[in-house]
């Protein structure tokens, strides 16, 4: 009996020891969305600079934010987050104040990308990709939509064949924009109006979908969907009848950024990494692979003309994009936003 305990006990201790070794790599830890960089980006970075960077994935901004807030930024060196969340990281003191001298490629950015409202002067974040949110549709099945109401109050023939984005901010943005309100609106009465509009819209909706809406367009299950411009390009790539349009009420300007964590222990490597990404050729390679616009003037000027012909939204000029309001962190109103989305989704 005691022999058995000894054997099992040793096994248990060995198992615990295995779990006790730290899981973090000694090299650079970069967290990004799946498929948001060129597939060989990390390997190319490692071979060119001799670092050992490791890519970890996060599915949503909120997921990585939860981890960063819980661990106070320890364990990650560079994270890719949307601009409202970069603001939050800065407010919490988790974001490194950037030393531009270590990022010479920052000069490649468009002038507009260095004066974005969430971080003028790029003090704590560097824009990686930017774009708009609009309507993605099958031009052979529906007439060209002109307004957000074509999605929210669709024609009879399109009813039941529409989808909206499931993520809080963009779900609400469709309602906010169609009523002419700010996408960062905090007034309770106006948000109540938005909520009622979106509850009505639910009656004609097929589904809320963040990830497979373009596949639904390709198969014909949906005919008109709310989409980010880059995702619509994935649909366009599979079916040339799919087109992207920004409604007359406008869009939001979303910006995904790179942030270096203040708690990082590999700051030099982190600077090398962000500088590498902002290099003209690397950033152009990223744009051509993920089919999103990048705020890098040197990179965009080198993008293949044929690509822009196939995916027209990639040719949108920054000056036009800056006409739209950028999504910002809404602070304490975030809880109200979440509650509103719950109300919309729970309504019959």
């Amino acid at each position: 009996m005691s022999r058995h305990i000894l054997r099992n006990g040793t096994g248990l201790i060995a198992l615990l020891a295995a779990f006790a070794t730290p899981a973090f790599a000694d090299g650079l830890t970069v967290s990004n969305w799946d498929g948001y960089m060129a597939a060989d980006a990390i390997d190319n970075f490692n071979s060119e600079t001799g670092n050992t960077a490791e890519l970890v994935l996060h599915a949503t901004n909120e997921e990585i934010m939860g981890k960063l807030i819980a661990s106070k930024g320890v364990g990650y060196d560079v994270v890719f987050v949307s601009s409202p969340f970069a603001e939050v990281l800065n407010n919490l003191g988790l974001a490194e104040t950037l030393d531009h001298a270590k990022i010479p490629n920052i000069g490649n950015l468009y002038a507009e990308a260095t004066t974005l409202s969430h971080d003028p002067g790029n003090a704590f974040s560097l824009p990686y990709a930017w774009g708009t949110t609009g309507l993605c549709y099958r031009s052979d099945l529906v007439d060209t939509p002109t307004s957000w109401n074509d999605l929210l109050k669709p024609a009879e023939s399109v009813s039941g064949k529409t989808t909206m984005l499931a993520t809080d901010r963009w779900l609400l943005a469709a309602g906010q924009l169609s009523l002419g309100y700010s996408v960062n609106e905090t007034d309770a009465d106006k948000m109540a109006e938005v909520r009622d509009l979106l509850i009505d819209a639910k009656g004609t909706l097929l589904a809320y979908d963040d990830t497979t809406f373009y596949a639904k367009l390709v198969s014909g299950e949906a005919e008109l969907v709310q989409a980010w411009d880059g995702w619509c390009n994935y649909g366009i790539g599979e079916n040339a009848d799919i087109k992207y349009v920004i409604p007359e009420e406008g869009s939001d300007l979303w910006v995904d950024t790179m942030v270096i964590m203040k708690a990082s222990e590999n700051k030099d490597a982190a600077y090398e990494f962000v500088n590498y990404i902002l290099d003209a050729d690397n950033h152009r390679w990223a744009a051509e692979n993920i089919l999103y616009k990048v705020p890098n003037e040197a990179a965009m000027s080198g993008v293949d003309g044929g690509l822009i012909e196939t995916f027209p939204n990639m040719g949108m000029a920054p000056a036009d994009m800056l006409k739209f309001e950028q999504l910002r962190d809404v602070g304490a109103a975030q809880r109200d936003y979440s509650r509103l989305v719950s109300e919309i989704k729970a309504a019959n």
Partner: protein, 295 residues
């Protein structure tokens, strides 16, 4: 095992306690403690940017009973209850049929009943998306037969979620109902018929009451698994409505409101525990008359 006369601390036979200790430590340290750590968050407040503000408050627990969230709870209970009821009817019928087969065929039939579990839960759910969607197999079958009109949307509805839940948990019910059914002695049914009972009366007044523990187990199993489920409503419901599982998921992973998510989880766990205890009581009462009296 006979209960020791002097109480277990005085008992010379402490081996069972010692052998259980590692498992109890594992259960306590790796399940109970983490659960408590999360649940205790329910009494704190969400920080402005999503962290935790350590001020003691009951506002999150109170918020759970707010009409909006209470309605979501009720709706989830309704869907879970409906799924459990349908699963019990179908499962009991299947188990009865299997138990009525010759003994040598029963293992094979049970194997087929459980076969779906060999694939992943997500794959089974996606299979329903392929079947039910507007461009999917069922619609194409209808068109092939010659039906020309627009079929109503079957996917992204509450009905689709119920179908998904019933399908995924049916094997549990079949197995739990099969157990008491297979133990039924055929002589009892024979005796009932000899005394003048029809087949229906035999079933209603003899077979069914004796197999109630199996039904209760199956019902509670499906109910508890369904009420907290968030995968099936998210996939088959198209995000169109929220069950309590989706709400908890949203608090932890979207709204970054861990305290409120913890409060919701706490109430949900309390409901489930209540049900499980109720099921244990029912099972105890149903089989109470047949237990040998304690010595």
């Amino acid at each position: 095992m006979q209960a020791p006369v002097n109480g277990f601390l005085m008992s010379t036979d402490r081996r069972p306690m010692l052998l259980m200790t590692p498992a109890l430590l594992w259960l306590f340290g790796l399940m109970v403690v983490p659960c408590l750590l999360i649940l205790v968050l329910a009494f704190f407040r969400r920080g402005i940017y999503g962290g935790i503000e350590y001020t003691w408050t009951f506002e999150n627990i109170a918020l759970v009973f707010d009409p909006l969230y209470f309605q979501i709870f009720m709706k989830s209970a309704g869907i879970a209850g409906l799924s459990a009821a349908i699963a019990c009817v179908l499962g009991y019928a299947a188990a009865y049929a299997i138990a009525a087969m010759p003994r040598r065929h029963q293992p094979l039939l049970l194997f087929f009943a459980v076969l779906p579990f060999w694939s992943n839960y997500l794959v089974r759910t996606y299979a329903w998306i392929v079947l039910l969607n507007r461009e999917g197999l069922i619609v194409n079958l209808a068109r092939w037969i010659g039906y020309e009109g627009e079929l109503p949307s079957m996917l992204y509805t509450e009905q689709a979620v119920v179908i998904g839940l019933v399908y995924n948990y049916l094997p549990f019910v079949i197995l739990s109902c099969y157990a008491p059914l297979s133990r039924l002695s055929p002589e009892i049914a024979e005796a009932s018929r000899d005394l003048g009972g029809s087949a229906w009366t035999t079933f209603r007044r003899v077979t069914l009451p004796m197999t109630v523990p199996g039904i209760a187990t199956g019902f509670v199993f499906v109910f508890v698994l369904s009420i907290g489920n968030f995968v099936t409503p998210a996939l088959l419901g198209g995000g169109q409505f929220q069950m309590i599982g989706n709400l908890v998921y949203a608090q932890f992973l979207t709204a970054n409101d861990w305290p409120f998510g913890a409060a919701l989880s706490m109430v949900l766990i309390a409901v489930m525990l209540g049900l499980l205890m109720g099921q244990a009581v029912v099972a105890e009462r149903a089989s109470g008359g047949k237990r040998a009296p304690d010595g």
